[in-house]
Symmetry: D2
């Protein structure tokens, strides 16, 4: 039983509170937010947790084994660092930190102190992405040719980060999880309309080498909500539509058959292929609940974090480079 505290009770924090309080693997012992009204509102529903507005109290509490940090991204580094230095295991909201240096320092400290550092890349714990990962690892898709992810809706405009930092960590963590190697380079373009200079529409293109191009479209201005994640492979392709609860994942046994040319140097189009479409049965579990249980496994059983600090660093590195490309009008940035 991991004794947990939650620091930050804004949009996402209450979800962590709920899951940490109802999972059998964790116990919610403290909640904390700088705003006393939020502490009051959330505390009323979870009366057994101690309440406070000062994170330092949380870190000083010897009865707290682990801290979940769900504050604005600009404060992730300071809070997570303090927690790690106080000997706590840490679960951090995505993205891990506001820049690469901060992210890397957190990883270093966690390693030194032998504490778990897990990033809340929550989609990796969804039944759908678990299925995608199974398919990729079992070779069912063959070599990956392209990934295209669309995550657009009339969004919650953020005032501290642009749409890439806000939404793309979801897509980037899924791609990182599936592809298993870092991108070589990227380019990003976008536009800002809300008057604060922060991009509200953005496109990110990542070159993973070996012909694999991954693209991410994130957008806060779309009146239509779309969540399409499309993976093209040499054997099969997959569409993961998070908004289709009855058939979230569809595996297409369709594609083009590519062969190696006689000298074996490149692929050659052989023919089109048309086959069945299969929508596999998925577990009916809540991603955040799965993540909380994985966090407990990391803390109690030494499990290797699925979305550990290393992945958190890779995602922040991509975001920082994307920011640079965005600022330059789309120039390619090597990673």
């Amino acid at each position: 039983m991991v004794r947990c505290a939650v620091v930050g009770l804004g949009y996402w924090g209450p979800n962590l509170v709920r899951n940490l309080s109802t999972s059998r693997r964790t116990r919610l012992v403290r909640i904390c937010d700088a705003d006393p009204a939020r502490v009051e509102a959330v505390g009323a529903q979870f009366p057994s947790a101690a309440r406070g507005v000062d994170a330092a109290e949380v870190f000083a509490d010897p009865d707290v084994d682990a801290v979940a940090v769900a504050t604005p991204v600009g404060t992730h580094h300071a809070l997570a660092k303090a927690a790690l230095l106080a000997g706590k295991h840490v679960l951090v909201e995505k993205p891990l930190a506001a820049n690469l240096a901060e992210a890397e320092e957190l990883v270093r400290i966690a390693a030194e102190r032998r504490r778990v550092l897990l990033v809340d890349h929550v989609f990796l714990y969804s039944p759908a992405v678990r299925k995608l990962a199974d398919l990729v690892r079992a070779g069912e898709l063959g070599d990956l040719l392209f990934v295209d992810s669309i995550r657009i809706n009339l969004g919650l405009f953020q005032h501290d980060v642009n749409v890439l930092w806000d939404l793309a960590p979801h897509d980037l963590s899924i791609i990182d999880h599936l592809v298993g190697r870092p991108a070589r380079s990227l380019s990003a373009v976008g536009a800002s309309h809300a008057g604060n200079g922060l991009a509200d529409v953005a496109y990110l293109h990542l070159d993973y080498g070996d012909g694999l191009l991954a693209s991410v479209h994130v957008n806060w201005l779309s009146p239509v909500k779309l969540r399409h994640f499309l993976i093209g492979g040499t054997r099969r392709s997959v569409l993961y539509n998070d908004l289709d609860p009855s058939e979230r994942v569809k595996v297409y046994d369709r594609g083009v058959d590519l062969a190696s040319d006689p000298e074996g140097k490149r692929r050659v189009l052989v023919s089109y292929r048309s086959g069945d479409v299969v929508s596999p049965r998925l577990e009916q579990t809540e991603p955040l609940r799965n993540l909380v249980e994985h966090f407990a496994d990391c803390v109690e059983k030494g499990a290797v974090p699925i979305s550990g600090g290393g992945q958190g660093v890779r995602i922040v590195r991509v975001l920082e480079a994307a920011q640079e490309s965005l600022a330059s009008g789309g120039a390619r940035v090597n990673l």
Copy 2:
């Protein structure tokens, strides 16, 4: 009654033949293709048209007023030029030509000879795009904020052009028609998998100034067919889904309200807005039939071409610049 010939009877030519032969505004007098078997096959269904394998015969025929050129893009320039010089009006398959110099020469010759030069940007003549244009022109959408077009499917791999030259003219002509001003700059990224070095997945981003970003995703490898064209405006937004025959166009009275800040220099987010969604009734006419009738109007009544040589040149200019950006890994190219 415009007496027409069709040169090129491959994939699209027979559609021109059918429409030119059944419209009351045109008469099909000749068909021509270098391949006698194709001439035979198509001619059997349209016995009243003269047949031949030599385009020169078509251009020399005084009973031919106009020529539709539906051959591979590499031959557009030579054939259209010869037709114009022979005094024929010309309808050319998209894109207008294989490069900017050729396209511009065709426009110049058409102007000098006072002949109609129309490009077969057929989507502009669809009831859906006509409705989009009405909405934009009536100010129903307000200022345009972004355009996002997706045109992906398991495609007909072309051996002479990449996916941008093959598919993007559709999207680019629609955007050109709606936006009414040329893009300032663009960038493009893509990947090639079929072994011929031609991109089969590509993303094109165009900056039209004033915060308007237009993006086009074209892809021959997708097992899922998608045709989404999304326009975000300050007043309303529109989704045009060409694969939804019952509700092709949806107008969303949803968005974010943006106001000018006190100094009037930029837009400021005011609030979210949520309203009705309207799917307007569309005419049930065939786009190509509408185009053929517009061509007859241009020839007989001096109507101003909707998709004339000028637009054809703008599209080829964008394609050429996109090609350059693609080759450089996505560098921004000014137009």
Copy 3:
């Protein structure tokens, strides 16, 4: 502030508990279920409510103004009757009672004791059905021609009632609310497969006179979940698809134009009409929350119940007649 108790903590009871406890119009003062484990489980989340396993205690409590009965249908009558006789206002889960005599007695007692008797026909309080009712009442649909409702999925097999008693009260209450007059006759057919003699697939057809036919298909065996509610009118038609969260209600300005024939005795087909489709913006409120507030209005302000005992009786009358028709293989039963 209405002080409420909930009797019955099975599938639906906890939803009542949550809404009665969080609405500002009501206070949850007691929860009760014959199963102590359920009382314990629900009580842990709502610690301020008194707990018990004996409904008589609830009825005897002078601090309870109103009782929500969410027990199996066979017990509705006894519990609601006892509550009314104890002077409590009563909210009863649908259907109101297990037979017409019981339902009528409850209405009589409520009238005599001047207590509110509200049936939990919760769909009437949904934003979608409120919109349908507005459209019907404003004459936007013209005369109603047909209603077709489909409510099928792989369902929770009930052991005490068949699929009609379980699911059709939803459809029947919506139809009753919209049509505003009782059906004249009905017929029902169905089949039973699970071995308990209770129909798991059933079709119910109601004749409302004036050419209005309403049909309801309920089914526990369907692997596909469908919730279509289609209303055909002389002016417009509406599709309410409860599973399409982005466009739950669509109003079709399409139909056939019918005119009265010269002698005015019947309608004559004039022509087809094709117009826009409008998906109106709907409120984002929870139906059960709306119902709870309406219940408070009835208790505190004397509001006329929208789904009062009278409607409850009409629904039970239809169900009883449908049962009779079902047993006879589909014979028409007058109401």
Copy 4:
């Protein structure tokens, strides 16, 4: 090569003309319609066929092996009978005849004259229904529990027949083909709004025994077009949605597990089952082309008609009984 004539060039006839003229198995030698304008219009596109307005000429022509009858249903019997008596093989539009006596006489004559009598139940020749039949015959669905077919749209009002006679032959022939045994009894309800006394909305329920209930909803008044054909089986279920071109058939490995009770007399619900959904690849052939080729097989090779006169009689018997039930307000009619 079967030499064919088409009698009746209204809505469907031209489709027969086109397929009989382009199939390699048949030759179109004559077309005929009482309306000379129709003969002219169709004949212009198929100049090699002889034309006429008198069906007797067709039957008298020794160069005609087979006649396709695509006239209004009231004339099917007279024309098909004359053709058979003249020694022609006959393909008749659905339904086979306007009443049971006529249908049975045609079957008798065809048998006596040893001529092929095929009914144009064209859906049986679609790749989707062929797949359904394969699944049923291979036992993939287990025992059939229910069939529910919806065929509604803003329809072509017919002036000679009601919506059941017009549309339900499609559903009934598919069900007949899949179930393989005749229904025992049926009931039907409907309503008429257009002023001509012909039902434009109708529901038909067929009892096939062994717990199998099949239902058909046909409707000319629906502003929404739906074509759902749902089959529930003990092992798997299938949804055939004719309006979803990318996934017309979906096989659900979901359902309830039913077991026989200890005494083996009835089925008992065991548990729910949730599995994959598979959308099998379908051939891309045109149903009417497949039917034409099957007709040629019957004529030339003695193949057993898939939709022969026997099926035609069964469908007409159901329609006649449905008409009787409809007239009586839904009374059960034994077959």
